[in-house]
Amino acid sequence: MNAFKTWFHKLGSPPFFYEFAGYLRPWLWVGTVVFAIAGLIGGLLLAPPDYQQGDAYRIIFIHVPSAWMSLFIYGVMAISGLVALVWRIKLAEIIAMESAPIGAAFTFITLVTGSLWGKPMWGTYWTWDARLTSELVLLFIYLGIIGLYHAFENERQGARAAAFLIIVGVVNLPIVHYSVVWWNTLHQGTTVRIFAPSSISLSMLWPILAMMIATKLYYGVSLLGRARIAVLERERGKDWVRQIVTEGTKNA
């Protein structure tokens, strides 16, 4: 346990994180590709057509994992942002800030795929019901966080301000999640549950789960890549960065 604690503390040091992240990324890529292929084959080829919607429902295999990621990433940002505000750890700032564009992208994908699905299912590309509206609001929260971070010249201060905004916006997360429970909405209710049996057939469930794992691993790939670049930028005066850059230009 102690060894794990020490290793975790070391992870907060930029050069150690840089190396560790670089080592981990290829493995995450492999995992992403494997699970994505499995999920897409399972979803697009193997799963039977829905008795009501036919083949139009298959966009669910992109839509649902993206929606889950849009919330999950915000959760990671909230925790990381809290750590950054309270303990001022550089890496926590970097993780929170570099996750924001990824989360915004997933939110955007959720909205677009949902909209494309809405046309055949409900007859309209958009409606102002609770879930769609709260997800759109989530996109604006992401954009606000990104905008606020980049409005500051001092990036550490900017990260702290943006972290504060992240925590204020956390209130939107339960609203998005429970919107289908609290209000009468056009959007369907929760079908995939963690602590109870899901109300969806197994042949459709496992590709969704595979895609969920794939998107999580992809988040790891993307975040670690962005974080490594951010670490190099922030620590650019340090010797270890200089070494990496000169070695890189030598090999190029």
């Binding site: 609001v137 606000g144 409005a151 702290r160 504060f164």
Partner: protein, 228 residues
């Protein structure tokens, strides 16, 4: 030697802000003018259909009042930051949250109160049904207070940045959407003869919570802004 009491700081800031607003009363009139201009454009934009206008009048008044308050929000802390007064407030041996509460109250009094008078008048001009007027007024009181509290917290974050007007509106939008939904919901309920107290009750409950939390959040945000 007299130490400053909890209220002396609150009153000093409140009095100061009201005095400053009075000295620049031309600036203080801007939000009302803005609301009037925007609200008056709608009949031209939507055409002379009286029934349509009457139906949307509540929503139009609500949105224009909130937008008008947004105008004054950007400068809430900017000038105090630039002339060093903000630092003096942070360093005073007072609870900063309490001082911020005074600041927010002054902002609401100066910006929202004229709008609370203008709102019902604009509503009448747009054909708002008479029975909806009291509910609209209540909704305006609650939503303007919430906007003042939430907006000041965000204005504290952007006080030191350039081009912060757009950013502030972007940051505020997610928080203000539920407020508008509930406020407009109450107005449309009364227009249809349905019970209208529930959305206003929700707003009041949120207001009670925000009254306590927003000054503290505002103080925290200010400390972040001053700590480069």
């Amino acid at each position: 030697m007299t130490s400053p009491s909890l209220f002396s700081g609150f009153l000093a800031i409140l009095q100061r802000d009201l005095l400053l607003a009075w000295r620049r009363r031309g600036d203080a009139a801007m939000p009302v003018l803005y609301a009037m201009i925007v609200a008056i454009l709608f009949p031209f934009a939507l055409g002379p259909d009286h029934q349509l206008l009457a139906r949307v009048s509540g929503g139009i008044v609500l949105v224009t009042v909130l937008l008008a308050m947004l105008l004054a929000l950007d400068n809430l802390f900017r000038s105090d930051l630039e002339d060093g007064v903000l630092a003096q407030m942070v360093l005073a041996p007072q609870s900063l949250s309490f001082l911020m509460a005074a600041r927010i109250l002054a902002y609401w009094l100066v910006t929202a109160c004229p709008l609370l008078i203008a709102g019902p008048i604009l509503g009448y001009m747009l054909g708002l049904p008479a029975q909806a007027q009291p509910v609209l007024f209540l909704a305006l009181v609650l939503s303007s207070a919430l906007l003042a509290l939430l907006g000041s917290m965000l204005a504290a974050l952007t006080a030191g940045t350039r081009r912060s007007g757009m950013l502030l509106s972007l940051m505020l939008l997610p928080l203000i959407v539920p407020v508008v939904i509930f406020a407009a919901g109450a107005v449309s309920a009364v227009e249809q003869g349905l019970p209208w107290i529930a959305p206003l009750a929700w707003l009041s409950a949120t207001l009670a919570l925000t009254l306590v939390l927003a000054p503290v959040a505002c103080a925290t945000a200010l400390r972040i802004t001053l700590d480069a």
